[in-house]
């Protein structure tokens, strides 16, 4: 049985972050895109919690809490915008957001 150490958490965090990044790049649906950003932020939370435990210092966990809080408010604002957009355009497709360019 393998001992689960800090590195594993960090690697997991990194993998999750990468998944989030890919999601951010690939998703065409605004809602799913928001999910991807949530994955990004939460992947960091894992790492913070792990490192915090590793150092025996609470700062990391505090950071994680703040990240959670911010992620929550982001979702609130984001969903608000999304709803308005949906009301106006009837879709939440990323490609419809291209009236400005150049």
């Amino acid at each position: 049985m393998m001992e689960i150490g800090l590195n594993h958490y960090l690697i997991l965090s990194t993998i999750l972050f990468a998944i989030g990044l890919v999601g951010v790049m690939r998703r065409k649906n605004l809602l799913l895109l928001f999910f991807a950003t949530e994955i990004l932020l939460n992947s960091v939370n894992i790492a913070f919690a792990a490192i915090s435990h590793y150092y025996g210092d609470l700062t990391g966990q505090m950071f994680a809490f703040f990240v959670i809080a911010i992620a929550a408010s982001e979702v609130a604002v984001g969903l608000g915008l999304l709803i308005v957009w949906y009301k106006r355009h009837g879709n939440i497709d990323l490609d419809s957001l291209a009236s400005m360019k150049g």
């Binding site: 951010v24 790049m25 065409k28 490609d95 957001l97 291209a98 009236s99 400005m100 360019k101 150049g102």
Partner: protein
């Protein structure tokens, strides 16, 4: 005495400005009269100054004011009346007085009467500055000034394309030479520290020959332009487009001799560099015969006289180049008288013939134009150098000088040229005045010129006849300043043989000319005769094809090159590269602005791409730092 100097100098300026006041108004005879009077007063002043100098008076030297002064350079408006300049002043004021009076009649019907006098007097003023200045810079003022007036006067009838073309040609050709002159001036200044004649002459003695030669050469290049020496000679014949009094004054008597004056004035320089002098003499001799040959066949009365002027300038340079400065100056003076007379006579003929210039279309004019006939004949005799007229004394001395200096080639060339001179002079008089009255075919009714014009010409006639008598006086006057070189052929017998031989040769030439052209069979050539189709004739008539060569190999390429420089180099290379840089910047912006597609997904990708790009750089760098020792080892192994 200074007051006379100033009168002589500024009376022409006043005259010019006075006439200039009326340029916009119709013809006013009094402008001509007042101008003539003012020039005459300059003549009187010059005469007074001449008597002063002849009477052994000190040269008069005045410094009016500073012109340019900066650094070590100091150039005043300074004027000097010494033996050389007073001679020139006499020639200039006398001929110009005559020409002014003559012009009142000649320009009688011209719209630009007042303007003409303004220009003419301005020319006299410039010429006076040229000859009276006490430094090279002042001389250069006059030098350029006469060039300007010459441009104005050649192009006086500016509605004529040919006239304005000739004017521009004259100006530009002179400019080429002026550059040489300017360089000469610079050389003088940087080597002697001054442009004053006195100072620089004093310093010449201490300079090395190479420098002196360069100075001499560049000054002479200047002289070549003004005196229309080969290869800058083409403008003089074309300058005959100007009114005939202008040709008489500027392109015969005064301006074109400025080059000779320059060499004579710089005699202290040229006497130090005899090899340059020899070159000048050789070129002079060459021009003498070269110009005379072109005069042989030309069918334009004024051009014939112009070539003869050119030829005589060659004589003067030959003399000056051989060190016989006083002879050159003397010939300059004598030549001024008879050549001006010849031109003015030609002017009378032109007037009579309604501006017809082809002597073949004249003939028999002596019946209607007796006085003109007499004057022109005397002038031609003087030009041919027959005893006892002026030309004999001056020209013969040149031959003697060449002989005495043992330059026999130059001597023979000049001697031969004397024959040619006699021939074309009398070809001209014969064609104009003798023989059938061919002009009747063209329905022209010639008439003699105004009386006062003839009277005005009379001083020239007299001087053309008697000027030779002043030879000794003149020599006495200038010997101190120009070197006491009286040329004597050692053996009296040789001298007599030479003199008589020359005379006989000349007379034979005259007789041949009369025989050939004073007969009833002369008709207006139509290009069919054998002679006209001969190579030599064509060569001479086309002035050795030099003007064509200039046109084809200089003027046209210059024009084309200018065009290319503008349309290809300036617009397509220099400007286009500037615009090209701007264009590259703009186009780069234009193309790459596509990255701002407005698509959120793309924007996010750019962010991630930026992150990944920097990450990879960081990884590379991090690895490089971690393995720096190994990398260095590998690199040193590779010999870097």
């Amino acid at each position: 005495m200074e007051k006379y100097l100033y009168i002589a100098l500024f009376a022409p300026l006043v005259s010019s400005l006075f006439s200039a006041l009326f340029t916009a108004t119709p013809k006013k005879t009094f402008t001509g009269i007042i101008a003539s009077l003012l020039i005459f007063s300059a003549f009187v002043s010059s005469s007074i100054l001449l008597t002063h100098i002849l009477g052994g008076g000190e040269p008069i030297h005045v410094e009016m004011m500073t012109w340019m002064a900066t650094g070590d350079l100091y150039i005043p408006f300074g004027f000097v009346v010494d033996e050389i300049s007073v001679t020139m002043m006499m020639v200039v004021t006398l001929v110009s007085t005559v020409v002014h009076i003559y012009s009142i009649g000649y320009m009688d019907h011209d719209k630009g009467f007042n303007r003409f006098f303004s220009y003419l007097s301005a020319f006299v003023f410039s010429m006076m500055i040229l000859v009276m200045s006490d430094n090279y810079a002042g001389l250069f003022i006059g030098w350029e000034g006469v060039g300007l007036c010459s441009w104005l006067l050649i192009g006086f009838w500016f509605h004529k394309e040919s006239a304005t073309w000739a004017a521009n040609e004259a100006f530009i050709m002179n400019r080429i030479a002026d550059l040489g002159m300017l360089v000469g001036l610079f050389l003088i200044y940087w080597n002697t520290g001054t442009l004053q004649y006195e100072g620089s002459f004093a310093a010449f003695a201490h300079l090395d020959t190479t420098t002196l030669s360069w100075i001499g050469i560049f000054l002479f290049i200047g002289a070549m332009g003004k005196s229309a020496q080969f290869p800058l000679h083409t403008w003089l014949a074309d300058a005959m487009e100007g009114p005939t009094p202008v040709s008489a004054l500027i392109h015969a008597a005064t301006m074109v001799t400025a080059g000779v004056y320059l060499v004579v004035r710089s005699n202290e320089l040229y006497s130090l560099i005899p090899h340059v002098g020899l070159f000048i003499a050789s070129l002079g001799a060459f021009v003498a015969i070269f110009a005379a040959s072109m005069a042989l066949v030309n069918r334009d009365m004024k051009r014939v006289i112009a070539y003869s002027t050119l030829s005589q300038l060659g004589y003067m340079f030959a003399a000056a180049g051989l060190g016989a400065y006083w002879v050159a100056l003397f010939h300059l003076m004598a030549h001024a008288f008879f050549k001006a007379l010849l031109f003015l006579g030609a002017g009378n003929v032109m007037h009579a013939m309604h501006d017809e210039l082809d002597p073949f279309k004249m003939g028999g004019l002596k019946k209607v134009m007796k006085w003109t006939y007499i004057m022109m004949t005397f002038a031609s005799v003087a030009l041919a150098g027959l005893f006892p007229l002026a030309g004999f004394f001056s020209k013969d001395t040149i031959l003697e000088a060449a002989f005495a200096e043992h330059h026999f080639v130059i001597y023979s060339v000049l001697l031969f040229t004397a024959g040619l001179t006699a021939f074309y002079s009398f070809r001209l008089t014969a064609l104009i005045f003798e023989g059938e009255e061919r002009y009747k075919l063209f329905g022209i009714h010639p008439h003699e010129a105004y009386k006062y014009m003839l009277v005005a010409m009379s001083p020239l006639l007299i001087l053309a006849i008697i000027a030779g008598a002043f030879r000794t006086t003149f020599f006495g006057m200038v010997e101190e300043i120009l070197g006491a070189m009286e040329y004597h052929i050692h053996s009296h017998v040789t001298l007599w043989i030479m003199t008589i031989g020359t005379q006989v040769f000349v007379i034979l030439a005259i007789m041949y000319a009369y025989k050939k052209y004073n007969n009833a069979k002369i008709t207006v050539p139509d290009g069919t005769s054998a002679m006209e189709n001969s190579f030599m004739y064509k060569l001479l008539l086309n002035q050795y094809y030099i003007p064509y060569a200039y046109e084809k190999y200089i003027v046209v390429p210059y024009r084309e090159m200018s065009e290319v420089f503008w349309t290809h180099v300036d617009l397509k290379i220099v400007d286009a590269s500037v615009d090209g840089i701007a264009g590259i910047i703009y186009n780069t912006g234009d193309r790459t602005s596509a990255m701002q597609s407005g698509n959120l997904s793309t924007m996010l990708k750019w962010m991630v791409a930026g992150l990944l790009g920097m990450l990879s750089l960081a990884v590379v760098f991090g690895l490089a730092v971690r393995y720096s020792d190994e990398i260095l080892a590998i690199l040193s192994g590779l010999g870097v």
